[in-house]
Amino acid sequence: MKRVASSFAIFTCCVLTSVAPQSAGAAHAAAAPAWQAALPGYRFTFPVDYGAHERFQNEWWYYTGNLAAANGDRYGFELTFFRVGIQRPLQRGSAWDVNDLYLAHLAVSDVRGRKFYFDERTGRAALSQAGATTGDEHAWIGSWRARRLPDGRHLLDAAGNGVSIHLACTFAKPAAIHGRDGVSRKGRCASCASHYYSFTRLRTTGTITVGGSTLDVRGLAWNDHEWGSDEVESGAAGWSWFSMQLDNGADIMLYLLRRTDGRIVPQSSGTIDDAAGRTEHLMLDQLSVEPQAWWTSPHDGARYPAGWRVNIAGHRIALEVEPLLADQELITKRSTRIAYWEGACAVRGTYDGKPVRGFGYTELTGYAAHL
């Protein structure tokens, strides 16, 4: 699953009511049913599904990864593009009229330097200021871009706030489709679902610029692409999302949606993608995730879990997930306008009873402010 979806809810709400002509409420109500919901039975078609799905309201392309420089220094990165669709009657006139809004986040974690950098961009799908193509993946805002080439490579470019990334990623496994019957459920309601696939293992090389020096880096990245409309169950307070890339070749994705009363939404789930690329859907009752430590943000006072014990009994998987850097909190004042924690983690433990190590990324939302 992913992510920052609720933040969309907020932002979309603002934008929708705001861009809707005169009688905002009525227009919103009228516009909402026009969005297509993510429904079971969906058949993924690639490369078309790598591209944008304009009939769905929300869509995002997420890249995270754990990289190492030649000297062994570790760096985490995140580059995300969000598309928020806005439906309203288009008027004659300005090409700047807002239809799709784009938001993007860039984060780099310098593990040895114990520094976390992030930046954000916003743009509209007008005059090529921002956009995403259909047919294959190419999302951009200004000079930030994520693009999939016909040869299967993904190119990532973004720079801001003192860091930049220029990375090329090649898939080691084919795309893994999450959920069942083409949908990943996010709650009880029928529309509470998204279409969601991941490239769980992308061999990545390129350069990263941190603190004025540009370094050659290599490592593994993870790509999520998810789209839907109105997908998060109302009453959700936030969620925790985990990606883990293990040295035995297996990759694991888990997400736990929390309700405001603290209970986990039963539709929370996960996926195991083994070394051979076989995927298995995990239901909530097949897994457990226990926080082991807590971290309080000096920026906004939010208290985040900081270290977990993950058990998937059916596979004899017992893993400890630990942040590589305590402070990997993004306070996005201008785009999604929420604070969330998304950071590089180290993973160790046993898989099928055998010791494994690896790296991963964790996303925590709803801890800073009530979504």
Partner: protein
Amino acid sequence: MRLTPPTASSACATARSKLTDEVSAAAFPALFRALVLRHVVAHRARTLVTVASVAIGVAVSVAIGLANASAIASFSGSAAALSPGTTVEVLPLGVGIPEKALRQVQELPGVRSASPVVAGTVSDAAGQSAYDLVGVDLIGALGLASSTAGPGVPSSGEIDADTRILRRGEIVISRRVAARLHARLGTPLKFVAGARAVTLTVGAVIDDAALPFGWRSIIICDISTAQEVLDRIGLLDRMDVVGAPQADDQTLRRELARVLPNVRIAAPDERARQLTKMTQAFQFNLAALAAIALLVGAYLVFNAVSMSVVQRRSEIGVARALGAARSTVFGVFLLEGVLVGVVGSAFGLVLGRLLARKALAVVSSTIDALYTTDSASQIAPTPEPYIAAAVLGVAFCLIASLLPALEAASVPPTLAMRIGSWESSQPLPGLLLVMAAIAAFGAAVLLAQLKPLDGRPVFGYASAIAVIAGCSLLAAPLLALIAKVARTCLPATAGAALRLVPANVQGRVRRNAVAIASLMVGIAMTVSVATLIASFRETVNTWIDETLRGDLYIAPAGAVNAADVTMPDDVLSRLRALPQVAAADALRSRAIVLRGRPTNLAASDIEVTSAFGNLPLLGGARWSNVSRELIDQPAVLVSEPFARKFAMATGARFDLQTPNGDVRLRVAGVYRDYASDLGYILMDRTRYIRLFGDRRINAVALYAKPGASISALRAATLRVFGHNVVRLTANGELHEEALAQFDRTFAVTYALNGIALVISLLGIASALGAVVIERRHEIGVLRCLGMTRRQVATMIVAEAALLGAVGAALGLVAGYALAVILVFVINRQAFGWTIAFVATPLYDLKLYLVAVATAALAGALPARAAARLPLAETVRAE
């Protein structure tokens, strides 16, 4: 005023002064108390007038200085803050930059970011005030602002967590603008843009402090709204480009020029610099007038310190005899002048700050009307105007007291013991003074020939000061001459009191000369500025009569000042079809930059302009020849200020940048124009449209058929446009409006002029009053010799009136000389106008009578007091 020390006992005095230097240094405070403070306290009223005159002069300088500085600060503030970090601005040559070019620019390697701007003017529904509407990409700019970490455009966070700004037709305004528009969040506001009514809703109201300076008085909206409201679909009015860190300015400009060959690439502060340049002549002239007000004050200080030296001649003598050094005496009187300067300046600074708001309102309204839409409304917190005015105030007082202090220092101890010898017995160096005056006048003539310095008529003002200096030097010899003539010519029947007058005047010629010189300066300034304004007004009036031949003028509502408010030209055919209309001339005018200097480009339908209009052509050119050339050839007319500023005459050729490349144009003729001191290039509208692709118009001049009713024409026109979106002005109304505009422009000048007159009248009153008071002893003697009180009073009033008459007459002469300099040198250098000299004899006569009457009145009050003095006391010394 004698500069050479008397020979008697001077050697001795020198020796003694060496011995007593230390003594006198210690005695300085005591001496200052005895010679100055006691006197100052005793003559409270006069001291007050002197200090007040300095205070007023300094106050005026401070107020004008602050107003000027604030206007300039607002120029750079508004230009700089719109997009922080902007390296260059890309501006259209024609009607706009195609928005499709934005992405191309953004992808240039040398470009870090390029922000689109759509800007224009809207007016409130009443058409009373205009507002700048600026549309930016509020969505894209959010991310941009975060990475540049500058103040940036208002981010969503600053807009109170409310993204309503994105709603179509919504605007963001500062609290200041909200207050002016009586608007709150959600208030729908009616505006007129380009002769169309639009409704914009307040989507966010932001604290002024949360906005960069330049954003506080404008209306901000998303670029999509701005394009629709301002009728700029598909076009940008500007791109603010931030260069990449590695790209230097030259590389960036080269890259931009490659992608966009026909735009203008400007430095971000260009507009501010141009506005500063455009207004500098206007501002310099205000500052100069303010300094002249201070100069009049300086004459009064000169007068006052001279007077205090004269009145304390005997005390000075005593002090010198008791061992006070020359330098001590000199220092004591210099200190008096400086003290007056310091105290007067202190009051002046406070008063100036109070006056500044008023001055700024007047200065801004003039600048708004002539040069830009929204100049300063707040006093800039700069210390320079205060420092400049205070330094000027104290320096003028120091210089003014230099001569009297020197004279005091030269009082010989022996001479001082003689009572009654107040006036120096040295003969007046009349010939020397006259020659010095002639030299000053010669200098004035020479200075008037010099070219302006950087657009400022510095030498023109120097010439004016030389005239004032020359006339001041003439005061004493002229007074002596008049007294001599009066003495011989006065009929025996005139009576004893009157017959004494010339002798009295002659006996105190230097003292009196100072008094009349200060009156002269005030009168001269008043007369000259009044003459300038009258000449200018009459010239403009005649010109308007000649040129405004249209019967009805149509402009979009809100076209109240220098704003470029336009309307589409699709109304022209409907207007021309009206039964009352003989012809309609479409007028377009916009600011451009030629050879790096701001000027205006105008277009009209030359066929109509030549047949119905009447722009006066200079140099004997004929419309019949010129109009064919304008229509058939790449030729233009230029206005007279343009011809002067760009040094181009008929036949000259120049290149004009257009969206289709540079075009070489020939100057087919020069026409007389008073609409803009920046000048005009006028071309046929068909050519203009072809070159610039701009069909918008700023106004339409309708010419009615003979016998057609203007009110019917007005009604028919309103039916074409609809109500409240255009302003219709009939010929007569426009004439009046133009003159009213003229008067508003000169409001500051009128005010400064009045202040100078008040100071100079105060001066003559205080000077003459002092003359009477110092003559109490003499009056006592005359009374002992049998003069009646009435005769004494008559004598003194007559003397005062004579002095007033001579001073004012000298003032009139000097005033006319200054007027010539103002009209033909300063005005021409600063603004480039041709003005026909028009004298204002009636005004001058009134001024003259007021001056003489004030002088007589100034004599009358102390005369009565003097006549009532107890005899014994006044003549005790005899």
